[in-house]
């Protein structure tokens, strides 16, 4: 993937927004990769958890907000438990989802789920899915 870096991107308010919503300091990550090594969803991801942090540091907003990775993370917290720097990576990924959802761009379209998807799964699945993937 070809990626262009720029001072403009680095200073984009997006970086501050991710830090504010997640409550995390992006700059303390030293890219050890432990979050990606232990992530159960990593093989489904286009941008890996450690790369998500690097992209966020560099203000690569378009790449992050278009990624598939942020929607296959189920906030299982394995990365948070293992990060040697104490970074809550799940919170950073949540911040990215929220930046999109707060523009009322739902990831899961409730009206498009078919009857069996809505009818057979327990309420705990529907409520948590809609909490995470709709605005």
């Amino acid at each position: 993937m070809r990626t262009n870096l720029s001072r403009h991107k680095l200073l984009d308010p997006f970086v501050a927004k991710v830090q504010e919503l997640s409550g995390q300091n992006l700059l303390i990550c030293y890219q050890c990769g432990k979050c990606s090594a232990g992530c159960p969803a990593v093989h489904e991801m286009d941008i890996l958890p450690n790369q998500i942090i690097r992209f966020a540091q560099l203000g690569l907003k378009d790449e992050l907000l278009a990624s598939k990775a942020i929607w296959v993370c189920a906030s299982c917290m394995t990365c948070n438990v293992r990060c040697p720097k104490g970074i809550n990576i799940a919170e950073i990924i949540e911040a990215l989802r929220q930046i999109l959802l707060r523009q009322r761009e739902d990831h899961v379209k409730v009206e498009k789920l078919d009857g069996s998807e809505r009818g057979d799964v327990p309420p705990i699945a529907l409520i948590s899915n809609f909490r995470k993937f709709t605005s």
């Binding site: 504010e20 159960p40 189920a74 919170e91 911040a95 899961v108 789920l113 699945a125 899915n129």
Partner: protein, 292 residues
């Protein structure tokens, strides 16, 4: 012993086997369960963004209901409810400004929440208050010869500050299984996420995870899997249908709640086990071991 109890949404329908078996088992242990009056859904997931206070109202309202019942302890059995209620409570306790805002938003409540309710999981109460040794004395039907793999998943043990057991290598369910007379089977995927709510929009991901988790337990000799979360139970049991369709070599395994195992060992009637709610029928293996 009396316990204020928060069931949560799914224990009243899909996971009625969890609730009925737990209440019967607790009765056998002389514990009187008092369901909260006017409880509401906790929201199922803890809000991870710093500014999202509105989603803490639902869990905190249940803590107010607990106070209204003259209690300062709230027990829940669902791993997701436990995580959400306990983490919201922790946020209120450590951020008095947040608590003030939440109380202001709920100005029509008679009781102001002061951070003084303790949220407990049933497993904690079994281990620390009722004690495993006293459970052992009351067992009428030990689960002799039953190979049980305990699956912990995510929300019971993570993040580390919430759990009552080690986040990477929890053992409390295995200890309980051993107390009940079963053989606890350790397996490497016991804390690996089942995919949780992705089951709604990406059921194929759940089929992959269920294949990995159940196959791993079977390789270690497990005959049955015990869980504490209704979402894990749905994914690991009901999604075995999708798993078998995707992986022809997949061999299924019954999945039960740890409370169903307790209910069997403590002599509860079979109707409290509600086996009709399972996808993979646990009865053949239990009959084979002479347990039902």
């Amino acid at each position: 012993m009396k316990l204020s109890y928060f069931p949560g949404c799914t224990l009243k329908n899909h996971a009625k086997n969890f609730e009925d078996s737990a209440i019967c088992a607790l009765k056998a242990l002389d514990v009187d369960v008092q369901e909260l009056e006017r409880w509401n859904c906790c929201g199922t997931v803890f809000s991870l963004t710093t500014d999202d206070l509105i989603h803490h109202i639902a869990p905190v309202r249940n803590l107010i209901r607990t106070k209204e019942q003259d209690s300062d302890k709230l027990m829940t059995m669902c791993a997701m409810c436990y995580n959400t209620l306990k983490r919201s409570n922790q946020r209120m306790r450590s951020n008095p400004d947040d608590l003030d805002i939440i109380n202001d938003l709920m100005y029509r409540e008679d009781v102001k929440y002061a951070g003084d309710v303790e949220v407990l999981h049933l497993l904690e109460i079994l281990k620390n208050d009722i004690k495993f040794t006293s459970i052992a004395h009351k067992i009428t039907k030990p689960l002799k010869g039953l190979q049980v793999a305990s699956y912990y998943g995510c929300y019971l043990v993570r993040p580390a500050e919430i759990g009552f057991d080690d986040a990477e290598n929890p053992v409390i369910l295995d200890e309980l299984a051993a107390v009940l007379g079963a053989t606890a089977v350790d397996f490497p995927f016991k804390v690996e996420c089942c995919g949780a709510y992705l089951t709604v929009d990406k059921p194929e991901v759940i089929a992959d995870r269920t294949y990995q988790i159940v196959t791993s337990a079977a390789k270690q000799g497990a005959e049955i899997m015990a869980v504490s979360c209704p979402l894990c139970a749905f994914n690991l049991d009901h999604r075995q249908k999708e798993t078998s369709a995707k992986y022809p070599d997949f061999k299924g395994m019954p999945v039960v709640y740890f409370t169903q195992l307790m209910a069997i060992a403590l002599g509860c009637p079979e109707k409290s086990l509600r086996f009709e709610l399972h996808h993979i029928d646990p009865k053949p293996i239990l009959k084979n071991k002479g347990l039902i």
